[in-house]
């Protein structure tokens, strides 16, 4: 990341002006310090405008009918798919499937494998390759977001496969050695997060994917916290499937992405069926479209996809290397400030080089909701709770934590306000610890 110069504070100020949310708040006496990008990001005017412009000038039922208007709308919709494909290193736009969100995308994979396992005859040619059953293993890690955990628990329960997980170490991380020890010849699916939404820990994806491939396991990557923050080349990483959500990467709500390797998407059965995902339908049966449309039955989130296309163009124009270098500086500042504050426990790796985008803490003697309430009054907006990762919090011996997350628009001042407010909360509730 050092090879590329980070965005400068002046460039960040310019960037913030391109976000109506920040521009409007800038006039307030105490503008909020928005440190909740890991939950949802703010959107630049370019994204809001693209969505609105599409609806005002080009809205039509994509992939349906023959009019020129439909053709233009379909081009915009498919153009967004191509833009997202380029952004995440997918060689072909057909590797990008629109989903409702990342959770939905992960479910498309897990449920599709379930379909292939239940009755291969119902599937599509080649779907037997996905079938799992008793004796097979599905592997995740203890650090997963519920979205990359529960679909796999259920797949195992439905098929009789064995559900296993890599336990986290004391600092909430897990290593390639842990993965090597857990992966066996029986592992069929290995699902894990590129970047943990609690610890910010960056998994060595390329090595893990190669390791999984060597035992014949499919890799499913939760890329929700990586794609918005660092350059991600999914083809090069060698994962089989990946999921990420639009609203965490400056895009609209209601659209997420499933990425897949072409030959795998081609063999994966659809778990939800209906109109426009089919080729030939009789009163007895249906045949399905090739990907991506096979997985997109019913009306799609068209303007949202167009907005997401604008979001990736925006991020590309900024430059993901430069954004990542900038965010790395911010995370270093955040982690250093936390480490200097007695009575505040940093969750996840202490070395900022091992983490991206965020830091969660537990304040001794204080519940995260109370911390969050104090921070809220100071105008510091963070996430408090278990961040959809109850098992990981249980491993830390806590029920909830306070998470600050940064984005390319975050300022040093916002980080400092968070750190000040943390110390302020300790004083307010009388739990400060002397150094």
């Amino acid at each position: 990341m050092e090879t590329m110069s980070a965005l400068t504070p002046a460039e960040v100020a310019e960037l913030r002006a391109a976000f109506p949310y920040f521009a409007l708040q800038a006039g307030l006496p105490t503008p909020p310090a928005y440190l909740d990008a890991a939950a949802t990001s703010q959107r630049p005017a370019a994204v809001l405008d693209a969505e609105r412009r599409f609806l005002e000038t080009a809205n039509a039922a994509v992939h349906r009918g023959t009019s020129g208007a439909v053709g233009a709308a379909t081009e915009a919709f498919e153009g967004a798919r191509a833009a997202v494909a380029r952004f995440v290193g997918a060689a072909a736009p057909e590797q990008i499937v629109w989903a409702e969100n990342a959770t939905d995308a992960l479910n498309i994979v897990a449920l599709g494998i379930g379909e292939a396992s239940a009755n291969p005859a119902l599937g599509v040619p080649g779907s037997e390759r996905f079938a799992v059953g008793p004796g097979d293993e599905i592997l995740v890690t203890e650090a997963e977001h519920h979205a990359n955990l529960i679909p796999w628990q259920r797949l195992a329960a439905r098929t009789g496969a064995t559900f296993r997980y890599i336990p986290v170490r004391e600092d909430g991380t897990w290593t390639i050695d842990d993965a090597r020890a857990a992966l066996t010849e029986r592992t069929r699916v290995f699902a894990f997060a590129h970047i943990s939404n609690v610890t910010g820990y960056v998994a060595p994806v390329a090595e893990l994917a190669a390791l999984a491939r060597s035992v014949g396991a499919l890799t499913v990557l939760d890329a929700c916290q990586s794609v918005p923050h660092i350059p991600v080349d999914l083809d090069a990483l060698g994962v089989d499937f990946a999921a990420f959500s639009g609203h965490k990467m400056l895009g609209p709500n209601g659209v997420g992405v499933l990425y897949g390797r072409p030959e795998l998407l081609a063999a994966l059965p659809p778990s939800r069926t209906g109109g426009s995902a089919i080729t030939r339908v009789t009163m007895e049966s249906a045949e399905f479209m090739p990907p991506p449309m096979r997985f997109e039955p019913g009306t799609q989130p068209v303007s949202q996809a167009v907005g997401l296309g604008a979001a990736v163009e925006f991020l590309s124009a900024v430059g993901m290397e430069r954004a990542a270098a900038r965010e790395h500086e911010l995370v270093e500042r955040l982690v250093a400030g936390i480490e200097e504050t007695p009575g505040v426990r940093l969750l996840g790796p202490a070395d900022p080089a091992q983490r991206v985008a965020l830091a969660a803490v537990s304040v001794e003697g204080l519940h995260a909701h109370d911390v969050g309430q104090f921070l809220d009054e100071q105008g510091v907006l963070v996430r408090v709770g278990h961040h959809c990762a109850q098992p990981l919090h249980r491993a830390f011996g806590i029920a909830s934590s306070t998470r600050a997350s940064v984005h390319l628009t975050t300022t040093e001042d916002e980080i400092d306000r968070f750190l000040d407010a943390l110390r302020g909360a300790q004083r307010y509730f009388g739990v400060e610890v002397s150094a």
């Binding site: 995260a368 909701h369 009054e377 408090v384």
Partner: protein, 156 residues
């Protein structure tokens, strides 16, 4: 007083640090007992609240709870315990108070709570301004409500 100070009144912070009623239930012989686990999935706060009720009079003779959570949920359960203990409430009286408490918490700061009914629990009125904390304040009260339903079932 700022909204934050209104939320975290001294009385609430005191209760959260030295909670009343925390521990195991010691039910008198012959009493009807009930226990309920209440969980707030958004933050992981939880409480196990148990009661012992005199079968004849319907009075709550003992109330005890175990739990973990934020200062609001813990203080609220503590204040509730004190109220039940001090006033020797019957099932019906407790239900009336739960209803009054719920009304206060959901009123978004409008109206005056009935201090005669709620006692120290009126200190939790500040919660009403923070919609995301309503569940915290209600945790123990909802658990008691469930216990009371169980006991009513046993008496019927």
């Amino acid at each position: 007083m700022s909204a934050l100070d209104g939320l975290y009144q001294e009385l609430i912070l005191d209760h959260s640090k030295r909670p009343v009623g925390k521990g195991a239930l010691e039910a008198p012989d012959g009493a009807l007992t009930a226990s309920h686990h209440e969980f707030n999935p958004s933050c992981g706060d939880e409480i196990d609240l148990s009661i012992a009720v005199d079968a004849e009079s319907g009075r709550i003779e003992r109330l005890a709870w175990e739990g973990q959570g934020c200062s609001i949920s813990m203080a609220s359960a503590s204040i509730l315990s004190q109220l039940v203990r001090d006033e020797q409430l019957t099932i019906e009286e407790a239900q009336l108070r739960i209803a009054a408490f719920r009304e206060m918490i959901q009123a978004r700061g409008a109206g005056e709570p009935d201090e005669e009914l709620l006692g120290d629990a009126v200190a939790l009125q500040g919660v009403a301004k923070f919609v995301m904390r309503v569940k915290c304040a209600m945790l123990g009260w909802v658990a008691l409500e469930a216990d009371l339903r169980q006991v009513e079932g046993q008496r019927a």
